[in-house]
Every structure is written in structure tokens, then in C-alpha cells.
Amino acid sequence: MKAIVCVKQVPDTSGKVAVKPDGTLDRASMATITNPDDLAALEAALRLKDATGCEVDVVTMGPPPAEGMLRECIARGADKAYLISGREFGGSDTFATSQIVAAGINVIGIGPEDVVFCGRQAIDGDTAQVGPQIAEKLHLPQVSYVADIQKEGNSLTVKRMLEDGYMMVKVQTPCLLTCIKELNEPRYMSVNGIFECYDNEKHPMIVLDYAALKDDPLIEVDTIGLKGSPTNVFKSFTPPQKGAGMMLTGDAPAADLAGILAKKHII
């Protein structure tokens, strides 16, 4: 068996978020991190490796600098890394992204006992769509919002979180799970791992460009990139400038505030 982990490099939105005057994100000026939910997915895969000795492959789609993040995943304990990168893939929405990543996973190959791990959602888009869409493209059963995983033979029993509780779900492998941060505490990179993460013989870094994926039936001009994306951004804008805030100074400030919150659908 093996574990395949989908990871994404994202701008660190917990720090300062820089927005350009045209309403798009100024990614160049922001630090990048590995998406937090994806680290939980990697940790879940590494725990499976601890228990079974299975191989852990990490895969991402992104520009060439995303290689650094993949090396970090190796330093944490992953075995192999796949970087899907190509200008043909640029501008992809979640639909097109899942087509491409699924094609990349087809190159890795999915065996009967394999598990694909994704983070629930990325902090830049917050869509939580790519994981389930990859599962659909690969015809795998999925369980999302996973907060606990127990493996018994060829099946996994997972705890799937709901807003008001949880479900216990049994799923056969191969399958895809999307993980939430509460699943685990990601391990640090090990000294040995950092030492070895640039050793391409031990830990291959395989770049999958358009040429490497183009023969997969999932890859068509009208299913990838900006042209293959069903959704388009019609307008992008910043909310009105946050002023100094509104001080409620009337005779009944609590009532005034409740009225404003209700009018703005905040409550």
C-alpha cells in the first residue's frame, strides 16, 4: 500500500494580506507556507507509514518554487515528491485543478490498498472543493472533514465531523480523505530528513509538465487552465475601506448595534 498526499503552497493569510490596487492578491509580497490542513493530511499519511511501513508520496500543482515545500515534506518523512507544473495549467479553477492533479495521481498509480490524503481546504481560496473533485475524477469514494482514522485490513473507519457532532464512517480502500487540523499535531522536520531531502536518489523529485500528462484522458484543452475552467472571476474587489470603526454613542448603543448587525446579516 501507499499514501498519496496532495499539498498546496499558499500565501500566509494569517499575517498581513497585501492587495494590489486592481483588487487581486499581491502574492509576491507575502510569505508562503504549506497549507495548514495539508500538513494534517501529511501527518496522517506519515502515521500510516509509521504503522505499516508504507510509501508516502507528496504531490502538488504550482509554480517551480513549490519544490521547496515538497522538500520540506520529504524532510518531515515523505518518500517521493511530484511537482505538477506548467504554464498550460495556470488560471485553473477547482474543476480544472482537480482534472490535472487527478491526471498526476494517475501517473503515480493507485493500488487497491492506497489512500489519497488531502487537506480539507486551502486558506487562500477556502473552497474545500479540490479534494472531492479529485475523488470524483479518480472514481474513488471520499470522506471529508476527517478528524480520526483507524485502519482495519482493507478498510478505514474514520470520524467525519459535522457542525453538530460527527459520523463514524467505514470506507474501503482505495479512497480519498480530506483532513482537518484537529486530526493531529504535525511533526517537525527531522535533522536527518533535512539532511536527506535534497538527495534525489533516495527521494526523487519528479516534475510532471504538460507533456508528461497530456495523454491522460482527463487532460483536454477545454478541461484545464483558464480556458478549461467552468468558472470565471467576473469582478474582484475589496470591501469598502475599514475606517476607524463606528462608535455607538447614542442613548441606546446596544439596541443600535443589534440593529446594524441584523441589517448587515451579521446575526
Binding site: 481560496g125 479534494g131 453538530d164 475589496t238 470603526g245 462608535m247 455607538l248 454613542t249 443589534a258 448587525l261
Partner: protein
């Protein structure tokens, strides 16, 4: 006729996925039906709910009619009792291919956000995540931009004949808003953030007039690759600052009666829709509240939908951990407290007096909705 996701003219009608848990319709269903009614009126088409479950009575289904649905499609089977991705995606995708709705709305719940992407991938169409505003009519959309954006609209041109669904959503913790369209394929799909769309007043006559249809469908146990072993309701909620939509934090300002201050914070969080109590470092260091409540540089970084700071002065170490919250409310005795610099709404006053009033007013405002 074969199903063609590109044949835009063949798609008619607005559909809303009506989610039930344990046979009970969810509040989100009514919000989305109410919003769907507006869109259907703008398009001049029918609004239908689609409801999957086991032993669904007509009376249950008709309830969504009371919020504006013309009809409800009910798919009833023991295999649909609890949500599974496989069963629900199959039945609904088959229904979409049979009836071809133009717009499909799904609540952005943990279930909706599992179902919708799977459907969109299968149907080869676009999906917008967690929308907070929807428009068909361009005139109304431009009005919305006037109120809610910093765009200079005098420099923008719009096609007022455009009938695409314009789906607006926040990104990057609310720093950016994006309006998404799906111009080439149908249905136009969006998950919609719970609690945002206004629920219409329930109308018993409309509920009674609502048509319940039970179309034939194909589903076998072999279609479902997962098995739900149990569904558990949460016991007492743990302090989950990161996942909370509402955080009411307390600071040194509650020192004179810590117990009451925390109780008020909890009560306010409940009134605001349910949430957790956070705190400033000062209270943690003083041993008055456990460290898992702490927001800020040495505590947790949070961006809930609503953050309330009670009696917190707002040192940079605290604000660094909460300034990206969508709406920030501060109550403090000291009008020069730096917390008011990051707050959207501020009230100067004694929190022990202000908060009980606020709780009462919020409850009243919600009841009036």
C-alpha cells in the same frame, strides 16, 4: 434528448438542495429557498427543492413551500436515510440530468461542501464556494457593488441584459471579494454560507399549495462505497477557538467579577449564534482562565465571523491574533483603548451593564427577522 452541459437554453428553473439531518430540515434550507425565490422571480422560472431521505412525509416536504418553493422533489429510500456522498451525488446528478435546472444552490455546511464539488465534477460545470451574495439582475448587482465595494463604478461598464448568476464570495479571510460566474455551462452551482441569506416569513397557504413530486430513481447498495456506522451528536463543546464562527473574548475588564464576566461572554456568544469564549493574555497569566482560551501572538490566531472584545484594551500582541476577524465589536470603559482602532463597532461603557443589554437586543433583533 441527450444531456449536454453546454446547451444553456435547455436548462430552466432554480433548485435548492434541502438538507435533512435525522429527518429534520435545516434552517439553511429555508434561507436558501427564500433566496432561491428571488432568483427564480428574476429569471421568471420555477423554484424547486430537492429533498433526499427516508420516510419523508409530504407535510415535511411542503414546509419548504412555505418559504417560497413551487414544488419539492422527494427521493425516499432507506439508502438515503443518512448522508453518504455516493448515494446523494448519484441521485441528485441523475435528477439534474433528467430535469436540467439552470441554477443549483446548496448550503455550505459540512455536508453541502462534500456533496457540491462531487456533483460539479461529475456534471462538468462550475461551482462557487461559500457565496454570501447572489444576483441575476445586473441592475441589482450594480446596486450591491455600490454599497459593498470600493470599486469606482463610474469607470465600469455593465451588460444589463446579462442573465448569468453572479455569485459573490469572500476570499483571503474577507480581505478580498470575488464575483464568480459560470457562463458556458449549466447548471450554475454555488454553495451558500449558512446564516447569510434572509429567511422569508413562513406562509402556510404557500406550504399547502406546494407540489410534492416523487420521481422514479435508481439506487442500489452497490452504488455506495461507504457505510455510516453511527451518527453522534456532540456532547459539551470543547474550546475550539480556531473553528469557531463566534468568539467573545474577555480581558482584564472582567476582573471585578470573573465568573460573571465569563458567563456573560458565553451568553453573548450563544446569542450571536453559538461560539466560544476567548481571552487576553492578562487573564491567563493571572490564572483566571485556562490557556486554551488565549487569543493573540502567544495564543491562537483566529478569524471568526464575529469577534467581540469585552474589557480588552487591545495591545498589539492581542490584536495580531484577531484583527482579521470579519466583524469586530469592542466594549471598553476607556474610550482611548487601542482596541477601538481595530474594531468595526465600539461601545464605551461598563461591560457588566452593556453586555446584558446587548444580549437582549440581539435576541430581539433575531426574533424580528
Amino acid at each position: 434528448m441527450a444531456y449536454d452541459f453546454r446547451d444553456i437554453a435547455a436548462f430552466k428553473g432554480v433548485w435548492v438542495f434541502c438538507e435533512q439531518r435525522g429527518g429534520v430540515l435545516q434552517n439553511t434550507d429555508f434561507e436558501l429557498i427564500s433566496e432561491g425565490r428571488k432568483l427564480a422571480d428574476e429569471l421568471g422560472c420555477e423554484l424547486a427543492g430537492i429533498l433526499l431521505g427516508n420516510d419523508i412525509a409530504d407535510e415535511t416536504a411542503k414546509e419548504v413551500g412555505g418559504y417560497g418553493a413551487d414544488k419539492v422533489l422527494v427521493y425516499d429510500s432507506p439508502l438515503l436515510k443518512d448522508y453518504t456522498t455516493d448515494a446523494y451525488a448519484k441521485v441528485i446528478c441523475d435528477a439534474v440530468q433528467e430535469f436540467k435546472p439552470e441554477v443549483f444552490l446548496i448550503g455550505a455546511t459540512n455536508i453541502g461542501r462534500d456533496l457540491a464539488p462531487r456533483m460539479a465534477a461529475r456534471l462538468h460545470t462550475g461551482l462557487t464556494a461559500d457565496a454570501t451574495h447572489l444576483d441575476i439582475d445586473t441592475t441589482k448587482y450594480v446596486e450591491f457593488l455600490k454599497e459593498s465595494s470600493s470599486l469606482d463604478l463610474s469607470k465600469q461598464t455593465f451588460d444589463y441584459e446579462d442573465r448569468n448568476l453572479k455569485m459573490t464570495r469572500p476570499a483571503f479571510g474577507g480581505h478580498l471579494m470575488a464575483t464568480i460566474i459560470c457562463p458556458r455551462f449549466r447548471p450554475q452551482m454555488s454553495t451558500v454560507r449558512p446564516g447569510v441569506m434572509k429567511k422569508a416569513d413562513f406562509c402556510a397557504d404557500k406550504a399547502a399549495a406546494c407540489v410534492v413530486e416523487r420521481p422514479a430513481f435508481a439506487l442500489t447498495r452497490d452504488d455506495i462505497k461507504t457505510e455510516v456506522l453511527s451518527v453522534e451528536k456532540a456532547a459539551k463543546k470543547m474550546v475550539d477557538l480556531i473553528g469557531a464562527d463566534v468568539i467573545v473574548s474577555v480581558g482584564r475588564g472582567i476582573s471585578k467579577d470573573v465568573e460573571k464576566g465569563i458567563a456573560l461572554a458565553q451568553e453573548l456568544a450563544e446569542a450571536l449564534g453559538g461560539g466560544v469564549v476567548g481571552s487576553s493574555r492578562a487573564l491567563v497569566d493571572a490564572g483566571l482562565i485556562s490557556a486554551d482560551h488565549q487569543v493573540g501572538q502567544t495564543g491562537k490566531t483566529v478569524h471568526p465571523k464575529i469577534y467581540v472584545a469585552l474589557g480588552i484594551s487591545g495591545a498589539i500582541q492581542h490584536t495580531a491574533g484577531m484583527q482579521d476577524s470579519e466583524t469586530i465589536i469592542a466594549v471598553n470603559k476607556n474610550e482611548t483603548a487601542p482596541i477601538f482602532g481595530v474594531a468595526d463597532y465600539g461601545i464605551v461603557g461598563d461591560l457588566f451593564k452593556v453586555v446584558p443589554q446587548l444580549i437582549a437586543e440581539i435576541k430581539a433583533a433575531k426574533a424580528a427577522k
